[in-house]
């Protein structure tokens, strides 16, 4: 079920009171059942995949805990990786590889289209398989002990607030909280509520509304003029950010209402001064997963400069492929890999300043704005390949921008785009300046806090009431 649907709030309205009045063990059962109901709501058949992944990794990690022989440990790890990547490979990538292979074979007169299975992609498969693999790898690396409680582990894998679109949680953060489930503190309830309201607003009134325009323009770019296409690209950059960060906020907020703290997945990525910083602020759970379990496993920066760049490219290409079974995602990942490699090369031995920027003079602010603007433009270009479903669409887009076509709606599209940009930048600026995603709670006046939250919720509710909810963009991954 979608977070931006009324049925989800009815579901939450049932789960939360039951959760609050139960003992710890009963809490776990309630959450586990609720999580499977939540996941099974899309298609009950895919709960079996969730269960398979859970069972295999539970037993593999217990065996890893007991086993000291390095070869046997590697074999056990391979069982987990094979199961999870096998499930992912079949359900997500099988048809893609057959199609690619078939296209290649056609050059030699052969055809393998009959091997297409038209498999339905289970929702959230990329997220929970990565989550369980991270657990098994951490146990293998002896970074943590395997949990003996099947209930705890099953809940770690299926925890509904973050099951279908992340954040991809680390077992070291989530498992201890699950093993000691408690009712939330007053502070958590307040912050959780604010995160849900802000997340819904971002998802519904920024993400969905920009998405309506984006979907139509990207489906047939040859019908639209240059300004309309540029607007659509900028609106897509807003859509994917508002949609995903909105979802992540709702996930974190819902988890807080259950007394659980999930990691932040976004930290104002469009205010990044360079591409390296962008990847520390965008989809943090995935980028840190790729760094810890892929980039470092490949050798990271420990095997010389050339190998570092190769490892970086492989990580980003596979990171692109994770997003979808299509070559345009690989190109998207590849472009980011090139950007990162160039930036790394330009830095030499310098380190990136990680935290918030503080400017002391107008020159500093101008520098900050120009760097963020340049980074945004570079990222914007990659979003074209991310959103365009085929190369033809991407090149149509570029062609119609280069060969300028004027539009009778140019000013209107510019105004619409600008308005959405201002709204998302406002959210980001407040978060950036205060360091809090629930910045409204920093206001001293409680009546003003409540007024803003209630008003935002009311407006979002009214919009949800008479429009059909759009799924989260990242559900397709």
């Amino acid at each position: 079920m979608l977070f931006n649907s009324f049925i989800f709030f009815i579901f939450l309205g049932i789960v939360l009171p039951l959760y609050y009045i139960s003992t710890r063990n009963v809490k776990k059962i309630i959450l586990l059942v609720a999580s499977y109901i939540f996941y099974g709501y899309w298609d009950y058949r895919f709960t079996s995949l969730l269960l398979i992944s859970t069972i295999v990794d539970y037993f593999v990690s217990l065996s890893l805990e007991k086993e000291n022989n390095l070869l046997k440990r590697k074999k056990l790890l391979l069982i987990s990786m094979f199961t999870n990547l096998g499930i992912l490979g079949i359900f997500k990538y099988y048809d893609f590889f057959i199609e690619s292979f078939s296209s290649f074979a056609e050059l030699f007169g052969s055809n393998f289209d009959y091997l297409h299975l038209n498999i339905i992609l289970p929702v959230g498969i990329s997220f929970y398989t990565f989550q369980t693999m991270s657990y098994t790898i951490d146990v293998y690396r002896k970074k943590m002990h395997a949990t003996k409680s099947f209930m705890d582990f099953a809940l770690f894998v299926s925890f509904f607030p973050q099951l279908v679109a992340g954040p991809i949680e680390r077992a070291s953060n989530l498992l201890p909280q699950i093993s000691k489930l408690t009712i939330p503190r007053k502070e958590q309830i307040k912050k959780g509520t604010v995160l849900i309201v802000f997340g819904l607003f971002k998802k519904v009134l920024i993400g969905d509304t920009t998405g309506r325009i984006v979907d139509h323009i990207f489906s047939q770019p040859h019908l639209y003029m240059s300004v309309e296409l540029i607007s659509a690209l900028i609106l897509f950059s807003i859509q994917i950010y508002a949609d995903f960060s909105g979802y992540s906020s709702i996930a974190r907020g819902t988890a807080k209402l259950l007394g659980v703290e999930l990691m932040k997945n976004f930290e104002q990525p469009y205010l990044s001064r360079n591409i390296t910083e962008f990847w520390r602020r965008w989809h943090i759970s995935l980028s840190s997963w790729l760094k810890d379990y892929l980039y470092i496993s490949l050798g990271g920066n420990r095997k010389g400069k050339s190998r570092t760049y190769v490892n970086l490219m492989i990580t980003m290409l596979l990171g692109g492929l994770w997003h979808g079974a299509s070559w345009n995602f690989v190109i998207w990942g590849g472009l980011h890999g090139v950007y990162l490699a160039i930036h790394k090369y330009s830095l030499g031995n310098k380190k990136i300043v990680k935290r918030n920027y503080h400017y002391d003079n107008p020159k500093g602010l101008i520098g900050f704005i120009s760097k963020t603007l340049l980074t945004f433009i570079l990222v914007l270009f990659t979003w074209l390949f991310f959103r365009a479903t085929t190369f033809t669409i991407a090149f149509d887009f570029i062609n119609r921008i280069i060969h300028w076509h004027s539009s009778e709606f140019a000013l209107r599209f510019i105004k619409i785009t600008f308005t959405f940009l201002i709204m998302i930048i406002l959210f980001d600026c407040f978060e950036y300046k205060t360091g809090h995603h629930t910045f409204i709670l920093l206001l001293k006046s409680k009546p003003i806090q409540y007024a803003v939250i209630v008003a935002m919720f009311l407006v979002t509710f009214l919009f949800m009431f008479h429009t059909k909810p759009l799924p989260f963009v990242y559900f397709q991954f």
């Binding site: 047939q220 619409i416 008479h466």
Partner: protein, 343 residues
């Protein structure tokens, strides 16, 4: 008390700021209709509109109170003006006006008749039937002095006995066609008139009004309970579902007779019309334009929304092309008759 006051003030200010955001980002459109005591629910002038359903429309109502490019009521002798009257198919809120059959027709005819200025005016109104079309034509469209009027009709229009309490309606009084304007005294209309100012100034008020309407319908179940209540949408070939129209209502017959007296008015079938209707129109020597094959699925499928509905881009192209072919002959004859009269 102080806290309550602060809450209320902050609440109102937040709502106002959000209202500005909604209007500038065109998340939704302000109400584009007004309540006219003669026309009933009609369009406000100079209004912007953005609309998403099967497709995506951005445009608006011109200063004269109809959709698309604004041509004033007065026209010079060298202008050939064609008025399109009908429902949402004519309104064409599924795609930009530049791709609508109205614009295609206008461009094509202008290419064919370089010496004249061709103007095609869109008087489409969602939900209109032939009864509504005629009243609208008499009270509004006629003021624009069209040389040709095309009424877009479907099978449903001919045996329809449904009436609206928000618009004038035709009726028979001793076999004489009259227009009933009593709608402007009805409760529904008066209520709409009272709330019109708010709905015209505020998107939020418009949403509250829509929510009230939705609560009265069965859609509330679908909104709250999702797939437990949702209805499957299936493509229904228009001609399949309505091929059994065997009778034409008396009011419609009277409208057709009245319209017949105006020169250069045509009925355009949006879908294949039943044999009964076609034969009746032929017997009455009523000018009828048939659009061939326009009911095919390929002209109604919208890729982005995955829905079947109004004519899509290909559908509009096809309608534009067919109307161009037919109207080119009609206009050619019209111009030569005019030339003969002058000579």
């Amino acid at each position: 008390m102080k806290n309550v006051f602060i809450f209320i003030v902050a609440f109102v200010i937040t709502l106002l700021l959000l209202e500005v955001y909604l209007q500038q980002s065109e998340v939704s459109a302000l109400s584009v209709t007004k309540n006219d005591d003669i026309l009933g629910i009609t369009l406000k002038s100079d209004r912007r509109l953005i609309f998403f359903n099967e497709g995506f429309y951005i445009g608006g109502i011109n200063q004269y109170g109809y959709y698309g490019e604004g041509y004033p009521p007065y026209k010079n002798d060298n202008t050939i003006r064609i008025a399109l009257v009908g429902d949402s198919y004519v309104e064409s809120h599924q795609l930009f006006d530049r791709y609508s059959f109205r614009k295609i027709l206008e461009k094509n005819l202008q290419r064919n008749f370089k010496k004249q200025k061709i103007e095609v005016l869109n008087f489409g109104m969602s939900g209109f039937n032939l009864n509504d079309d005629y009243c609208y034509y008499v009270n509004f469209v006629k003021k624009f002095n069209p040389d040709f009027v095309l009424f877009f009709v479907s099978n449903e229009d001919f045996d329809s006995t449904s009436t609206s309490d928000r618009r004038p309606q035709c009726y028979l009084n001793n076999d004489s066609l009259k227009i009933d304007y009593s709608f402007n005294k009805k409760r529904n209309y008066i209520h709409r008139k009272k709330t019109a100012w708010f709905r015209g100034k505020s998107i939020l008020m418009g949403w509250i009004y829509k929510a009230k309407l939705l609560i009265k319908t069965s859609y509330v179940c679908e909104i709250f309970f999702d797939k437990f209540c949702s209805k499957d949408y299936k493509w229904k070939q228009n001609s399949e579902s309505k091929k059994d129209v065997h009778k034409i209502s008396k009011v419609i017959k009277a409208i057709i007779t009245k319209v017949k007296k105006s020169k250069n008015t045509y009925f355009v079938g949006k879908e294949p019309l039943s044999i009964v209707i076609k034969e009746y129109l032929q017997r009455e020597r009523k000018n009828f334009i048939s659009l061939a094959n326009i009911d095919k699925k390929k002209y109604h499928f919208w890729k982005v929304s995955g829905k079947y509905g109004h004519w899509n881009f290909e559908g509009h192209k096809e309608v534009g092309r067919q109307l161009t072919d037919t109207l080119s002959i009609i206009i050619k004859n019209y111009l030569s008759q005019r030339k003969n009269i002058h000579n």
